[in-house]
Amino acid sequence: MDNSICQVYEDEIQSLEEEIKFLAEKYEDSQQESTFFSDEEILMSIKSFQREFQGESKGHEFSSDLKAQLESLETDLSFLMKFTGIQFTSHSKKTVEKTRNRTVRKHRLSGNCCSLSFQLEFQLLEVQNKENVSAVITDLSIIMESGEDSDVSKFVSSTEEHGNLLTFFRSLSSYAEWYEHRRCTFLHFK
């Protein structure tokens, strides 16, 4: 008899812990998405953060840890942009729906690849399965600077229709490769 009461409590504890985790994530996501800090504000924060922990040897770990983490992430990002030729200039996302297993986020992304600039909007649906998380793109909308070019607009509307975000970027990257190759060849002959 006692064991079944214990089980009831334990089940409730587990369910509460899951709910708390879910709510905390929801709150943090919302905070993150509705805030924005400029590059100057970030630089100032890094400086003031270092000053705060200048004297303390204990806090120094945290300070260098956060700063080092940011630097490492930014290095990775700038490497990828250089390597693929795809430069993102801005990115924002908004959580439109969040349940235990499903998250739908609306993304806005702009950037350029060599001389081609683009602006994208899409919805990303992520579903938690037993083993992994599946991701599906819907409502893809692409605006390209040279959109009047009939080849480009055909490519764009076909990509939008099928939600082919990956193909879009691979094509852009190929274009960048070819562009770079052409530029090098041209320089060679100068």
């Binding site: 006692d2 214990c6 409590y9 334990e10 409730e12 504890i13 509460l16 812990e17 709910e19 708390i20 709510l23 905390a24 929801k26 709150y27 919302s30 905070q31 993150q32 805030t35 924005f36 800090f37 504000e41 924060s45 890094i46 003031s48 953060f49 705060e52 956060l66 700063k67 940011l70 490492s72 992430l73 930014e74 290095t75 990775d76 990002l77 490497f79 990828l80 390597f83 693929t84 795809i86 993102f88 990115h91 996302k93 993304h107 992304l109 599946s134 991701a135 599906v136 793109i137 893809l140 099928h162 939600g163 082919n164 975000l165 990956l166 193909t167 691979r170 990257s173 190929s174 490769e177």
Partner: protein, 287 residues
């Protein structure tokens, strides 16, 4: 002598046995009492934990509700009434950069610098659905080489590496990505067919690991019990998810009138994704 006649209980052995029994009983009772005490303590602890968590959960719910209301009201950027600390700003920036790195995953090539080189991640997708991703751990010195990877054995990785890895890493990844995406696309089509149109296919689809050879018998409607068509799909171009060779034939017992349909299908399968082709059969049937 007289004592022994009154019964064994009063013999020295009897007394000790009796004492042992009493001790055992007392011990059992003590153990039971301890168990009950522990059980009660456990219940009390669990109850207290439930109360604690309920309180925490209610506070969070209120916090989230307030947050949602605040955003609906202002419709703009919501800022914390208190000045955000330098740490909070940095943490925001870190999350922001991480989010952008995650976007790179959607572009098909992402990665992370390592001490000795780069670890690339090639993602695959069929239209808007992202499928498996594969990683490649590259070392930069003494020359570019593949340290570890998760590319399946039937993808000609060594061939592609031999051709491009030393001279043009971008091209190497590009070609590898084409192979992996085409494979993922072929597999996706076969899986979709098996999953959504299983009653129109006889048994299971026969396929190889590279998913570039498929053979099966099928029907256009799900109501019939016979499968008059046989198809053999060969995907000769490993960077393509459409077949290069399609042979549709009718099974020996099929009516001759179906020969024309078989020819039409042969053409269809060359142009349209497998599961899309079957979807068109369904809507044709309805008409």
């Amino acid at each position: 002598r007289g004592k022994m006649e009154e019964g064994k209980a009063y013999s020295p052995d009897g007394v000790f046995a009796h004492l042992e029994m009493l001790e055992a009983r007392a011990h059992e009772a003590a153990v039971k009492q301890e168990e009950t005490k522990q059980q009660e303590e456990k219940l009390a602890r669990l109850k207290a934990r439930v109360q604690e968590l309920r309180l925490q959960r209610d506070e969070l719910r209120a916090k989230v509700d307030l947050q949602q209301k605040g955003q609906l009201g202002k419709g703009g950027v919501v800022s914390d009434p208190a000045q955000p600390s330098a740490r909070a700003v940095l943490e925001w920036k870190i999350k922001s950069v991480k989010a952008m790195l995650q976007v790179f995953y959607l572009t098909g090539i992402s990665g992370k610098l390592t001490k000795r080189g780069v670890c690339f991640c090639i993602s695959t997708a069929y239209e808007g659905t992202y499928l498996d991703s594969y990683y490649l751990d590259l070392l930069a010195k003494p020359e570019v080489q593949i340290h570890r990877h998760s590319v399946p054995v039937f993808i000609p990785l060594e061939q592609i590496a031999k051709k491009y890895l030393q001279t043009d890493i971008r091209r190497f990844l590009s070609v590898l990505s084409d192979h992996l995406n085409a494979y993922a696309g072929r597999r996706y089509q076969a899986d979709q067919l098996q999953e959504r149109f299983s009653d129109q296919i006889e048994g299971t689809l026969q396929r190889n690991s590279l998913c570039n050879l498929l053979v099966f018998n099928y029907n256009v409607s799900s109501k019939s019990k016979s499968f008059p068509f046989n198809v053999r799909l060969l995907y000769g171009d490993l960077c393509c998810s459409l077949p290069t060779e399609v042979i549709v034939s009718c099974t020996p017992d099929a009516p001759a009138s179906l020969a024309e349909t078989a020819a039409a299908h042969s053409d269809l399968f060359r142009r349209v994704a497998l599961h899309e082709a079957f979807r068109s059969f369904g809507s044709a049937e309805e008409n």
